[in-house]
């Protein structure tokens, strides 16, 4: 139960808004952080906290693509395929990932480690091709970089190639 575990954080979120329903997205994110996706039980509980009906929670949750209503792998690879990235090779990147992991877009590897999703513009158009893995951006990807990212994620759960705070072109070194 979110309420037992995160009482303080929930109160803190609720205090920001004059109307409780505004806390819906933050609480759905909390539920997703807890279990990797938003479960029906969590939506029920959130409805109770915010004094909404479960359908009100569900209607909002189903609108937003970043809320996973189904389990995803430990690392959710989201590759941008919008025009700006496509011009600089996002389709090739998707092909590499598919081949290396043996999964098609929308699928998860049998070991539940990687899910591959194709998404629309992530606002990194000057540094494509790019992908987001969970919370992190990886930009200006090449096959070598991709190999290292996948290997690092497997071994350590993170990779130093992640980018940001973002600035491109980078400031000149002094």
């Amino acid at each position: 139960m979110l309420q037992d575990k995160y009482k303080g954080e929930i109160d803190d979120i609720l205090a920001r808004y004059p109307v409780k329903r505004s806390a819906l997205l933050p609480l759905l994110y909390m539920a997703q952080r807890e279990q990797g996706y938003v479960t029906e039980a969590a939506m029920q509980e959130i409805a109770g906290i915010l004094r909404l009906t479960p359908p009100q929670v569900y209607e909002t949750a189903t609108f937003y693509t970043m809320l996973n209503l189904k389990p995803v792998g430990k690392f959710h690879l989201q590759v941008c395929k919008s025009l700006m990235c496509a011009l600089v090779g996002s389709d090739t990147l998707i092909g590499w990932i598919s081949a290396k992991l043996g999964i098609k877009p929308g699928e998860t590897t049998p070991d539940k480690l990687f899910t591959l999703s194709i998404v629309e513009c992530l606002a990194a158009c000057g540094t494509g091709p790019m992908m987001q893995v969970n919370d992190d951006y990886y930009e200006r990807l090449t096959e070598e970089k991709l190999d290292r990212i996948l290997a690092d994620l497997r071994q350590t759960g993170t990779c130093s190639l992640k980018t940001g705070p973002f600035m491109w072109p980078e400031p000149q070194k002094a």
């Binding site: 920001r16 004059p18 109307v19 329903r21 505004s22 806390a23 819906l24 997205l25 933050p26 759905l28 994110y29 915010l50 209607e59 909002t60 609108f63 937003y64 693509t65 970043m66 809320l67 395929k81 919008s82 025009l83 700006m84 496509a86 011009l87 600089v88 998404v119 629309e120 513009c121 992530l122 606002a123 990194a124 158009c125 000057g126 540094t127 494509g128 987001q132 919370d135 992190d136 951006y137 940001g164 705070p165 973002f166 600035m167 491109w168 072109p169 400031p171 000149q172 070194k173 002094a174």
Partner: protein, 435 residues
């Protein structure tokens, strides 16, 4: 290459600048709010912004001071400021840089705007994918709160302003200001029917102003250096100041370039962004994000200001300039953007919801060599029945890639259809599309 004085990117262009409160203060930060709070009346702040000619940097280019002026003067209840950090127009990546590299510049701009419109609470609606940006903003707000810039009774001026970060969750439409408000209220991000406008019935039905990140980031500089100074930059009287243009696609040095409005596309693409990435010539460019109609090499000498780009048949929009080289298939390019709009249509208005699906199906059919000549007429007809017939500007935006490529590169569509006719493959009627 002419060098221009950077305004918004000035701090972050200093080597080693990391955007902390101390660094921002050392660079002259938070002077504007100190100068203004309790000393200059909110109406005078609005007057300065109006005089500066600052126009919204999110896409529509509406004069910021005028927008603030729409708030009811005699209303006693709460008012709100929302910072639109939903940056989701394909081709645009400036707000991300302004947020992650110099968050206090944005916060000071928000404080000034809150003071001018009399808002005690403000929200930064940041797109959900910017997890790092949201963290950086939270940290910056905590720093500013500890230093007394944010919170109750700021510097004993009797003014209280609070700022909170609110993360979106992956919907393009939430960059539309009324959809943003709906989303902030915990609902599906469906744009509202206007009027009433947010100025009178905004967040929680209270008077609200929604301003873009770049717009707000300009405010400290305008208040520090004066409306005349700002109005002298760029292409006065209608397009004043600089803009951070985001150059992407087939250029040698893609990235964010801050230049005064009114320079030409040729200068931006060939001097700032280093020209084309290879020997291939420029074939097409999009001047202001995915919603802006495509332009051709004939338009390279068009000036980058609101009026000139509109006159050339497109729009300056969000400042996202995407360049395509010779050899790029324009039908394919239009399809890619159309797939984006199809995916992001919120589903509220039938012409957009159904029309975007039909447009994608017909475009796919043409690209897959199954098209027929009558498709071109159907496309045009559909586009004309979507544009202007929806609650928000999305309907006008989604038809621009197809209509503009049909206008400038119709022969490519025709060649594809001729190839289809020659191959004589089975031509299915459009029946359904998967996301």
């Amino acid at each position: 290459m002419p060098a221009y004085e950077p305004i918004l990117l000035k701090n972050m262009l200093q080597p080693g600048y990391a955007g902390s409160l101390t660094e921002y203060e050392r660079a002259g930060g938070y002077q504007a709010i100190r100068k203004v709070l309790g000393k200059v009346s909110p109406a005078d702040v609005t007057a300065v912004v109006m005089k500066s000619g600052l126009r919204g940097r999110g896409g529509a280019g509406f004069p910021t001071g005028v927008k603030w002026g729409f708030l009811p003067k005699d209303y006693q209840g709460p008012r709100y400021l929302c910072c639109n950090a939903d940056e989701s127009e394909p081709g645009t990546f400036k707000d991300r840089q302004l947020i992650e590299r110099d968050p206090h510049q944005l916060l000071e701009g928000m404080l000034l705007a809150c003071y001018a419109i009399g808002a005690a609470s403000s929200y930064i609606y940041i797109r959900g994918e910017f997890v790092l940006g949201a963290k950086i903003l939270e940290q910056a707000i905590n720093e500013a709160r500890a230093a007394g810039y944010v919170g109750k009774n700021i510097f004993g001026s009797n003014t209280s302003i609070d700022i909170w970060v609110h993360r979106g969750a992956g919907a393009y439409i939430c960059g539309e200001e009324t959809a943003l408000l709906e989303s902030l209220e915990g609902k599906r991000g469906l744009p509202r029917v206007k009027p009433p406008f947010p100025a009178t019935h905004g967040l929680y039905n209270k008077p609200t102003v929604v301003n873009n990140v770049e717009t707000l980031a300009n405010l400290p500089h305008i208040l520090n250096r004066g409306a005349e100074w700002f109005a002298s930059i760029g292409s006065p009287p209608k397009s004043t100041g600089t803009r951070v243009f985001c150059v992407s696609g087939h250029v040698a040095r893609p990235g964010n370039y801050e230049v005064p409005m009114g320079i030409t596309f040729r200068e931006l693409i060939y001097e700032q962004a280093g020209g084309m990435r290879s020997d291939k010539q420029l074939k097409a460019f999009i001047p202001g994000g995915a919603s802006a109609p495509f332009l051709t090499p004939d338009h390279l000498d068009v000036k980058l200001d609101f009026e000139s780009v509109a006159l050339a048949g497109s729009m300056l929009g969000s400042g996202g300039v995407t360049v395509m080289e010779e050899g790029t298939d324009m039908v394919w390019a239009a399809l890619r953007l159309m797939e984006f709009f199809y995916h992001e249509s919120c589903g509220k208005c039938s012409p957009c919801r159904e029309g975007s699906s039909w447009l994608v199906q017909i475009m796919r059919r043409i690209v897959n060599k199954r098209g027929r000549m009558s498709d071109l007429e159907t496309l045009t007809d559909l586009c004309k029945n979507i544009a202007g017939r929806t609650v928000c500007a999305f309907g006008d935006a989604e038809v621009s890639p197809i209509l503009s490529t049909l206008k400038h590169w119709r022969h490519e569509y025709v060649a594809m259809i001729h190839a289809a006719e020659a191959a004589n493959l089975i031509r299915p009627e459009p029946v359904g599309t998967k996301h």
